[in-house]
Each structure stands twice: as C-alpha cells, then as structure tokens.
Symmetry: C2
Subunit: 417 residues, 2 copies
C-alpha cells in the first residue's frame, strides 16, 4: 500500500513558501513503513487539480492532500476531489458546530465563508482540526483508494497527522515494516574523509548507512527496517558502535545532540562552569550555549568585546599585543579566554576572535581567519587557529567559528575521560 | 510556454532533505514570467521516472529536472530521459576534459564512475557546471519540448541556473511578463490587525498585495506583473507608499532589511554607539546586531549576564532589587541597560531579561515574560514588559524577545526624525 503526497497551493509554485509539509510527510511515511514514490504540487486551479487526482488515483492507493481547505474562494481541494469522484457535498452539522464554537472561544463571529468549511463529500469521515477551522477528511471514494486531506498550515497539519491520521493508518495495518533511524554527528572531520574511513558500511543493506554534510557538521544516518522500533534499534546499535569507534573523538553525539548540549553535559558532569569572550561572533557562541534548556547550571555569562577598547578594559587584553599582533591573533585569543574566566570567576573561559568579513581581510589575515582561545581551570591558556575560507558568507564563518570553539572545549573536557 | 519542475531523488521522498530547489525554481520562474503549474518529486527509479516524464511531456513544453546527475549507480536522470526518447548516449570529449581538469585541480584522480557524467543524449547541448563534475543539458528531444537538467546540490544548481539557463530562457523569449515583488516588513502589529487596516489592498489585481506572518514579524508582499522590472517598480511604488503610511512606525523595512540592519543605519546616521546587556537571550541580541556587515562602526560589545552575580559584579545591578523584585523585572532591566552603557561607554545601552523556559516560570512570572530596558544618551533608562506566551518554544521566546528589544530601540531612534 503506497501513499502519494499532493500539495495544493499557488504559493508553493511561486516559491513564496518552502514545501515543509512534503518533507514532514515523507519522514512520517518512512517511519510508518508506508512506501511513498510520488509527490506532486499543483496550484489552486480545479481543472489541473482534477488531472493530478486522476493520475495519482491510478498509481497510488493512498492519496494524502495538504492545502486548500481554508475559507477563501481559492481554497478548492475538498470540492474538487468530490467533483472528480461525482459525489455531492453535504454540510455536516457536527463540523459546523465545531467551527462556530472555535470562533466563539476567540470572541469572534463565524463568517459565511467559514460555513463552506463544514462541507464534506457524502460518506467521508471527518479528520478534526484541533486548532483551526480547516478540518480534513478520510474518505474511500471507491474500493482500494483512500484519500486523506489536511490543511496547509504546518502546525495544524502535523497535529492532525499525529493525533488522528497515524492511528488510523496503523489500524489499517498498512505500515508493515517501520523504518527507524539514528543520526550520528561528527565535527572536526570532512565528509569525504569520514566517508573514506567508513566506506565499507555504505554497502550494508539493513541497516543502511548514508553520509550528509552541512556547514562543517558531518552526519551519518543509520536506518533500519524492522517490525518495530525495538527490533530496528537492535540492528542499528552494533553498527553505531563500530562507526563511533572508527571516528573516535570526531563523533560528538546523535539525533538531537548539539555541540552546545554535549559540552553542557560534560560541564554538568564535572560540576564546572563556563564563560565566553566573543569578538567576531558578537554573542553567537553564548547564544548557542543558552539555546540549551538548563544551561544556567554551568553557563555564567560572557563579554562581547566587539570593539578593541572593550577587549582591553573588560578582558585585560594587552594593548601592546593588540597593536603589534592585532585583535585576530593567538595571543589575544588566549588573553580573552583568561580574562573572561578571571573576571566572571568560572572554571573555564572560552574565546573567539576572527575576521567574519566580507571586508576587513588582508593578505596575511584573510577573511575566515579565526582564533579560538581556551583557559582551563588551572589558569593555563592555549589557542587554535582556523582558516574557514574566504568564500564563505559572514553568517557561516560566525556559525562555524562558534562550533569550532565549542568543539575545542569538548575535546578538552574529554581528556582523561 | 509553461515550465514543469521534476525533482529526482529518493532522499526527497524520505524527507531527508527539504526541497529547496523546487522553491528556488518557483521563485525564478515567477520572476522570469514563465508560468509554472506542476512540480513532481520521484525517487531514483528509472521506471517511475519514465512515467513522470511521459505525463509531464504531454502537459508542459519546458521540463526542468534537478538531481540524479551524480557519478553513483543510482544517479539515473540523464540516461532515463535519453531512453524515454529513444536517443543514444554519446560520450562528449569536451565534457570528459572538463571533468578530468576539475579533478586534477583538486589533486585527485577521476574515477570510472565519473566517466559516466560525460555521457549526454545525442543532440543535447551541455549546461556546464562551473563548480562540480555534474553538468546538465539543454535538449529538445522533439519539437516544442525543451528539457533542462541540473544537479541536486543547491549551490551548483543555482549557479548554473543564473549563469546559463536564465540567459537561454530569455533568448527564447519565453518569459513575456516578469513578476517583481517588494516584501514590506512590520514589527509591533499582528498579522490580522495589519490585514484589517489594509484590507482594501488585498482586492488589487496588479500589483497584488498578500500578507504573511512569521515569528512576530508580519510581511506584505507587493507583486506586480509587467514587461520589465522598471515598469513593475512603477506599479509597486505608489501602493508601497500608501501601505507604509497606513502602518506608520510599525513598518520597519523592505526586502533584505532586518530590525538589526535598520537599527544599525539609524545609529550610523546619528553617529551613536550601542552596547547590550543580555540575560535570557544569552548573546542572541548581540549576534543579531553583528550579523550585519559593518556593525563594528556602531556596536561596541556587551555583557552576557546569565547568572545573577554577573548582573551585580559587571552591570552594577542592585542586589536588593534582584532579591526583592527578581532578575526578571522592570528595575533590573533598566539597571542592566544603564550599567552596560556606562561600563562600555556607549551612547545607548539595550538590555533584555526574561524567562525563556521551558522551566523557571511561576504564577506571577510565567514563561515568556520578558523585560527590555533601554538607556538613552542622556542616561535616562526606561523599560517595557512583554508577554510572549507560555506555548512558545525557548528558541522562539529568545528570538522574538531580542527582536522586541531591537524594535524598541528603533522607535526611540526615530523620535524627532
């Protein structure tokens, strides 16, 4: 039983919004073990939508629609599908009640337009929208063909999918085998270098191993097909272990782990605290650290020393070094890390200084040159130089630079563990 | 002459990646004035791809493919299209040379797999890939049908599109009318409130006006169809002026403007400087400000006072106020703003303190409560309270809170202008 995704909306064709619904449904169908071979996007045009329904209904037994359930005249999905299958629309009193109650709760009056949203093809089951007025349906217009419709608003669509569609699809027994994945994450090794190290794993068939690279972070997705999640995990675990062993410290975490969350765990375990001194990232390093809930347990704060005089006045950087070596130098990075550690009285100090561009680069100090400084609990400081390239955008240099800083701290925290 | 987009890749169906290529091509086709009614996604399967080509070639005279041009065995786009049109593949010596030169430049040896990438259907023109080994083609397999192929890697696809496909499409005269848009941006007004104020504009047909809302920022897209960009701008400008006048100070900028870049311009104009004191955003406010190239001209730096003792030791916040009123209070926000302004010796000081959650909220101070403080050049401090809601995620509260801080400063900087 394969499913086909049909997204309706001119705004998708115009590129006004990205098709996040198609990605979400793709992931969900894979997880449920329901094969999925086709996706289509079509505008708010009943004739073209009918043609798409005709094509899809001959090749896929499950059709999943998103979009076109709203109250405006160009929301046509329900009526067009009904018309294609020669089925009259019927106003559902229970749906009308649901919609008017939602409006009442918000202190608003339901409009005539919204009344349209209570119309469903004869024989269709309502797929209630817990948040908005655009409910969908589950309908078998003919044997061996099931249609599900969802609104285009991602949050509403996802809630309806999880709460009502998934239980329905499982009850039908359509997903025989589920696909479960682990996403292993690496920093400090390139995609091709890691791929070479683990090349033999790419030949596996269950689980499969596939590499992805994005902004300096390299990922391996290990996916297993099995009857349930526990069985899939059993297939994945030994492969995961081997991959992590091969990668050594370049492996930093899995799934929702980030460099900031991993650093946070290590600091929490050792009951140590951290402060940051930032120049070229302007606060981005602190932002990454505090994106982790509970980071107040180990992150004390920091100093954004964007201007050089702040590096002197608040971090105690040597004005001579600034003059002679420049703000983007190993010595200044070390002094920044030590300065913030001492000033904020934390176990560790982490600093970053660099040239994010697009201007400010020179022959000897090009755009993308970044120094990360680290001061350890004993008060010893060291630094590392990174060349992040002159072709990268400012935002990428700032983001990758901050990740390198976190990764450097992570490796220091792992020493002796 | 309408165009259809066909994206090839099982990774799209699995939801491993989002279909950014479809969005990009949608935007580009709209800009070129080439109608675009269908998008399809199909996996790396030659039979199904052939069926998609069959359907698309009967309804659209221009087919644009992305993906499946790589060197691996599951990259099948070129050969499948050639097979569908019964055309033999021919090895192109010029393409073989191009590929081997690219490998030589990187100091690597071309593999046998890559040799496949030099094969093109007889009669096709090569669409060179300036960055990678996956070149595409422009091919007319039969009268009134043009096929363009691109690799799936977005950066390579986009470069090839801009440098070679766009000039080709324009030469054919296929885009009669272009669509040009201005994106107007608003802060401090809800989507529905703005929509009510400008409701009559939604009835316009050329230019059209459509609202979008995302994370606190409201946008109006004004799109005009015309012969060229200059003519479109002439249609858009009077409407834009009216919309901005109606919105007043809630309008902050257009297109690539951000609250941070607008604040930056205002500071630059008045030759003033800024520092920030951040608690709940942990550096995110500074990060937004320094995401703007050239921000070192007005942004001096800041203090991330995540822990309360840092608020006291570095910002001079009153320990009594902290104890009695709490860190998330109007008084503390004002003292933080004043403290950082004085310490960093800047014209303005901007602060933010709040409860980003998910934990830490109480009955009187719920998650989402945020205070923004501002200290002006005269040393007068004030603050404003925001309730960003308990349902929002931590990241959204941090991001929207930082935007409110920037917006508050923007409005202060506009006074008397």
């Amino acid at each position: 039983m394969s499913a086909e995704v049909i997204c309706v909306g001119t705004e998708l064709l115009l590129g006004d919004i990205i098709n996040a619904n198609a990605q979400f449904l793709g992931q969900q169908l894979a997880r449920l073990g329901i094969p999925h071979y086709h996706q289509s996007v079509v505008g708010d045009n009943p004739e073209r939508l009918k043609q798409v329904v005709e094509i899809a209904s001959t090749r896929s037994p499950i059709l999943i629609f998103t979009g076109g359930l709203g109250p405006t005249p160009d929301d046509l999905t329900t009526e067009t599908i009904a018309e294609f299958f020669d089925t009259p629309l019927v106003e559902r009193p229970e749906l009308l009640r649901d919609i008017s109650e939602k409006f009442a709760k918000r202190g608003r009056q339901m409009t005539l337009n919204n009344r349209k949203q209570a119309l469903m093809p004869e024989g269709a089951d309502i797929l209630y929208n817990p948040a908005g007025s655009a409910s969908g349906m589950i309908w078998q217009p003919r044997p061996n063909l099931t249609i599900l419709t969802f609104p285009g608003v991602p949050s509403e669509m996802q809630q309806m999918w999880r709460e009502t569609a998934v239980p329905y699809l499982k009850r039908q027994g359509w997903g025989k085998q589920i696909v479960h994945s682990r996403l292993l994450k690496f920093w400090g090794i390139g995609e091709s270098a890691l791929a070479e190290k683990v090349a033999s794993f790419f030949e596996l068939s269950n689980p499969t191993v596939a590499p992805y690279g994005s902004k300096g972070e390299v990922r391996l997705r290990v996916s297993a097909k099995a009857e349930d999640e526990a069985a899939a995990v059993e297939l994945i675990s030994p492969i995961e272990q081997q991959l992590c062993q091969i990668a050594g410290q370049d492996y930093f975490g899995a799934d929702s782990d980030t460099l900031a969350s991993v650093v946070g765990h290590l600091l929490q375990n050792s009951k140590e605290t951290l402060s940051v001194a930032e120049s070229c990232t302007g606060g981005g390093l602190g932002e990454m650290l505090t994106s982790v809930a509970g980071s107040s347990e180990y992150f004390s704060g920091g100093i954004i020393a964007y201007e050089n005089r702040i590096k002197v006045s608040l971090l105690g950087v040597s004005p001579e070094n600034l003059n002679q070596l420049g703000a983007v130098s190993s010595a200044v990075a070390q002094q920044m890390a030590l300065g913030v550690k001492q000033r904020l009285e934390t176990s560790w100090g982490l600093s970053i200084t660099g040239i994010a561009g697009p201007s400010g680069g020179t022959e000897t100090k090009p755009v993308g040159l970044v120094y990360v400084g680290i001061a350890d609990p004993d008060g010893t400081a060291e630094s590392r130089e990174f060349h992040l390239g002159q072709k990268r955008q400012r935002a990428a240099i700032q983001q990758i630079g901050a990740c390198h800083a976190l990764d450097k701290l992570r490796r220091k925290l792992l020493v002796g563990k």
